[in-house]
């Protein structure tokens, strides 16, 4: 398993979040999550403009074995979704922290991300 990027924040549900300079955040699932899911066949993502409360289900990742809910780590409004995943859901297995980002979200409260786990804290859970 690859090491955890230290510039990201994490959740106990195995999502990661990267705060961008423009006050938005990029969200995906961790390497641990993709390995547990196995081969991903479909990622069901929301539309731009949709709003989510903290910990609301923003989508589903479907693997051969199971469908798993995706939880929004922070409250906010969707400003971008990764259309690449529609044609290449296997990116989630190959590039969980880069090519397989899932959503960009404008945070309702920009401080909310600070409450998420650091890489070291997340590592304790694995």
């Amino acid at each position: 398993m690859s090491s955890l990027p230290s510039d990201l924040r994490y959740t106990k549900d195995h999502e990661w979040l990267r705060l961008e300079n423009d006050g938005t955040a990029t969200i995906g699932i961790t390497d641990h999550a993709q390995a547990a899911l196995g081969d991903v066949t479909f990622v069901d993502l929301p539309k731009v403009g949709a709003t989510f409360a903290e910990h609301a289900v923003f989508g589903t990742v479907e693997s051969v074995k199971a469908a798993s809910d995706l939880y929004c780590p922070v409250a906010g409004t969707i400003v971008g979704v990764n259309a690449e995943l529609n044609g290449s859901p296997d990116l989630v297995n190959r590039e969980p922290y880069t090519g397989a980002w899932m959503i960009r979200i404008k945070l309702d409260n920009s401080a909310a991300a600070q409450a998420l786990l650091t890489a070291d804290q997340y590592k304790q859970l694995l």
Binding site: D39, F42, D44, E62, V64, K65, A67, P89
Partner: protein, 363 residues
């Protein structure tokens, strides 16, 4: 993992080869090694090696063995030639399935029966309870046998390097007792549960690892992969094969499951005949169908099937078909609704049209 789970003779082999072990039917089994999609496609294109040692075996011997089996099984047993195997259902009096089985005829008065792992103790008890005054002996041989399934277009080339038997002389559902990788008393049968060509190998449990390692080494140059239960499930669904507890069960009869060809009403008597005859002659309340979805979401077991807003059935098995690159599955649907058509499944609030397939997705 629970200490109550059984392990096959290949447990250490699986762990050494990087398998992810999961509980299945009371056994600790490999669900995948490298990845389900890759393993599935290896079986379709080259070859895959499955450990199916969790399957049970029993031996039925005696003067009345053939007559006895004809009385308990839906398919015809007495006409199986020595050296051939036959697929059959073991039914309850009400037509529900005790199990689905493959019966190998070893001799005029000797049969080896392959049982589903989770049903093996139940099946053996059931068979023994039916013996009555018949001259038969039923021996539980579950612990003695290991089983490997070598499946895929390269299976024959791989196995031919490990045995002196001319494999092309083994027809579909035929078998030979022979030596494989210097292990004697193995059974090679041209059977399988994948829809790809290949063999199942019954072997003494103590020699299972030796044979698996020999097949793995011989298969590597051909592109063979070790394959787990995940791929086994998507392969069997593409091929339209039933899995006990899903497409057939104590409440889903072989007639409902589309396995009427295994039920031989030409036999004057067998357990379940009367109930099954009624189903075959009259209107069935519900039937099992194969379907695909023009979508990416998988309709998994338990997903509701709708006609309009009325629930008319339920998904029995569902997966992603690597060959078709879309979701496939089976469902039990009321006969009325099937006749009318226009069915959907509800997946997380999305209504997706069910595309019913009259034929398996691979043959």
């Amino acid at each position: 993992m629970s200490e109550n789970l059984s392990r096959t003779p290949l447990y250490a082999f699986h762990v050494a080869n990087g398998a992810r072990m999961v509980p299945f039917a009371g056994w600790e089994m490999p669900v995948q090694y490298t990845g389900i999609l890759e393993e599935h496609l290896a079986v379709r294109r080259t070859a895959g090696l499955f450990d199916v040692s969790h399957m049970g075996e029993c031996r039925v011997t005696g003067k009345d063995a053939a007559v006895f089996l004809d009385r308990v099984m839906t398919n015809t047993m007495a006409t199986i030639p020595v050296g051939m195997a036959r697929y059959t259902i073991l039914c309850q009096p009400d037509g529900g399935c005790v199990d689905d089985l493959i019966v190998y005829r070893l001799g005029p008065e000797e049969f080896l029966i392959c049982l589903n792992a989770s049903n093996a103790p139940k099946d053996i008890a059931w068979l023994r309870a039916q013996v009555g005054s018949s001259q038969v002996k039923i021996a539980d041989e579950c612990a003695q046998w290991g089983q490997l399934a070598l499946q895929g277009p390269a299976a024959e080339a791989i196995l031919s390097s490990l045995t002196s038997v001319k494999l092309d002389s083994i027809k579909r559902f035929a078998f030979v007792v022979t030596t494989v990788a210097n292990v004697s008393e193995c059974i090679i049968s041209r059977t399988g549960y994948t829809g790809s060509p290949g063999f199942e190998i019954y072997l003494p449990a103590a020699s299972a690892t030796k044979v698996a390692e020999a097949i793995l080494a011989a298969g590597k140059p051909h592109g063979l992969l070790l394959t787990g239960l995940g791929a086994r499930d998507s392969l069997r669904l593409e091929a339209g094969y039933p899995l006990y507890g899903h497409e057939i069960s104590e409440v889903i009869s072989p007639i409902q499951a589309g396995l009427g060809w295994t039920v031989k009403f030409s036999k004057p008597e067998f357990i379940g005949r009367e109930a099954l005859k009624k189903q075959a002659d009259g209107a069935l309340p519900s039937s099992v169908v194969l379907f695909s979805l023009a979508d990416r979401r998988i309709a998994r077991q338990g997903t509701a099937v709708f006609a309009g807003d009325t629930k008319v059935g339920e998904v029995l098995s569902g997966t992603h078909s690597p060959l078709l690159n879309k979701p496939i599955g089976t469902a039990l649907i009321s006969s009325d609704a099937l006749a009318k058509g226009n069915l959907t499944v509800d997946i997380r609030g999305n209504r997706i049209p069910l595309e019913i397939s009259a034929e398996p997705f691979v043959k």
